[in-house]
């Protein structure tokens, strides 16, 4: 027997508080597509993706209609292309990115992730071809997302790759400068990347995964904010309890959608990702939750503590609601995709350095941050190194998605549109890390990696 109040509450969450399932992401292995001929490889991956994901969008739309819960995105992640395409006799994977883009358009998904390389300890031949292809691949395709994992707790930090990624980010910005460097919004640089992340732009289908799987990312910052509005004045233990209960409800919906999608598509269920993912919509903001807890603005002293509480309570509440939890599972703090974060930057309350501190206690990292177009490659590399160090030492995932917008500087704004939102250009330190970055080599794995 379902109570009237419960039904009204669920529908209020959906209609007024932006509760949705952020993404159903189908992971597809491309390991069996290897071929020495580039053209044959591209044909094989196109055929495999379009065959495996043929019904993904339709099933997503059917579930959305039947249960009355919006499912915002249907997406695909694939085996890192540096691995899948490695046998190809070629010096560029741009054609592979185009084949992925074509497949994404055919099945109707808005992003396809996995133009990726895992190079935390070093480069193979395929890794280098992939890295060199990233700027052009992102400029020539619309839906392809790229990621590079260049550090891990067990391997340390590949500083040669860190140095290279600064240049690649700059080149990607340059090649997409007529579109406010949007190529950089589709490029994530990871430490401790996870193999089952359903969220873009960092999703790829890890090598330890099954042939195909369904991973689901839930959302609901608006629901959490409305819940803690009800406990104004109560102590933070009560706030944490309230968030836990709300996260449980949100995650149960994700679990239901994941199971149902898995059943209808006849593809095994992978994980539910418990991340609290904001959107630019008013009332769907992680920053607004922090402010509801009692901070004048996101970025004020206390922000890191409030975010730590939020992130932990979301996990504790979500954990019991799902049979398999995975992915990134933590609050996201992308600047351009969160109206509250944008406002905090614009009023001068939130700086790059404060965001860096916040990434120590939540997923994922310095995400969707526009910086001045004249920021040097070495400075971008050094910011990547700092984030990677936070991830490696704290045994967590961190990521960097910076957008150095050509021709723009602090005070300007960049508009990406849609879920990617808009971003005020943020100030970056003027002090130079060039000599440090030019050293290259590897930062050794930390002592905490020696757990055996």
């Amino acid at each position: 027997m379902i109570e009237l109040q419960d039904i009204l509450e669920t529908n209020r969450m959906i209609k007024e508080q932006n509760l949705d399932v952020r993404t159903i992401t189908m992971g597809i292995s491309l390991r069996d597509c290897a071929d020495p001929e580039l053209e044959a490889f591209c044909r094989k991956i196109y055929e495999k993706i379009t065959r495996t994901a043929e019904h993904l969008v339709k099933v997503g739309e059917d579930i959305e209609a039947e249960y009355g819960i919006p499912i915002i995105n249907k997406r695909i992640s694939v085996t890192p292309i540096a691995i899948a395409a490695e046998a190809c006799r070629t010096d560029s994977y741009v054609a592979v990115a185009e084949a992925l883009d074509h497949a994404a358009k055919t099945v109707g998904v808005n992003f396809i992730g996995g133009f990726s390389a895992l190079v935390q300890k070093g480069f193979t031949k395929g890794d280098l071809v992939l890295l060199n292809s990233i700027p052009e691949a992102l400029a020539r395709t619309e839906r392809v997302c790229s990621s590079v994992n260049l550090a891990s707790t067990s391997s340390g930090i590949n500083m040669d790759c860190v140095a290279r990624m600064g240049e690649i980010v700059k080149q990607t910005a340059h090649l997409t400068k007529d579109r406010d460097a949007i190529g950089c919004a589709k490029l994530v640089i990871f430490a401790n990347a996870v193999e089952d992340n359903p969220f873009m732009a960092g999703a790829f289908h890890g090598v330890g995964e099954a042939e195909a799987c369904i991973n689901v990312g839930v959302s609901g910052p608006g629901v959490v904010m409305r819940a803690i509005e009800q406990v104004r004045g109560a102590d933070l233990g009560v706030v944490a309890e309230t968030i836990k209960k709300t996260a449980f409800k949100i995650t149960r919906v994700g679990q239901l959608v994941a199971q149902e999608a898995s059943r209808r598509l006849n593809v095994p269920f992978g994980i539910v990702d418990l991340s609290l993912a904001p959107t630019p919509a008013i009332g769907d903001s992680v920053a607004a939750i922090l402010e509801e807890m009692g901070l004048e603005s996101a970025g004020a002293p206390g922000t890191t503590a409030a975010l730590a509480l939020l992130n932990d309570a979301v996990k504790k509440g979500g954990l019991m609601a799902s049979s398999h939890v995975g992915g990134l599972s933590g609050a996201f703090i992308p600047v351009s995709e969160d109206a509250g974060m944008i406002a905090a930057v614009e009023r001068g309350a939130l700086t790059l350095e404060k965001l860096e501190a916040m990434t120590c206690v939540c997923s994922v990292g310095l995400d969707m941050i526009a910086v001045p177009g004249d920021t040097s490659a070495a400075t971008i590399s050094a910011i990547i190194a700092d984030e990677a160090a936070i991830g490696v030492i704290n045994n967590k995932t961190t990521a960097v998605r910076l957008i150095p917008v050509p021709g723009k500087t602090v005070g300007d704004s960049v508009v990406f549109g849609g879920l990617l939102g808009h971003a005020p250009v943020m100030a970056v330190s003027k002090f130079r890390p060039d000599v440090f970055i030019a050293r290259g080599g590897r930062i050794p794995a930390p002592i905490r990696s020696l757990t055996n």
Partner: protein, 89 residues
């Protein structure tokens, strides 16, 4: 399949009659009905069984939506599982 039909809007004569006629015509069996006036608004929640239904949930949603519009009501029909999973451990 069990579904939940929720009806929200300004109160008037014949709302329940209209909804139950649509359900009866299409072979949908009403299991439970809970109705109240909240803040001056008509709120009704029906649980129904589609085991013997002659149409799909999608088609039923469309009929209820368009009928609702002529009555000035918002009518949603949803798979009941979404409420079960959210509010029951």
């Amino acid at each position: 399949m069990k579904i939940v039909i929720s009806v929200l809007g300004r109160d008037r004569v014949g709302i329940i009659a209209m909804v139950s006629t649509v359900l009866a015509e299409n072979g949908v069996n009403i299991l439970n009905l809970d109705q109240t006036i909240l803040d001056g608004f008509f709120n009704m929640i029906m649980t129904a069984d589609m085991a013997q239904a002659k149409i799909s949930l999608k088609d039923l949603q469309e009929i209820l939506r368009s009928k609702g519009e002529t009555f000035g009501l918002e009518i949603r029909a949803q798979h009941a599982d979404i409420f079960q999973v959210m509010h029951r451990v």
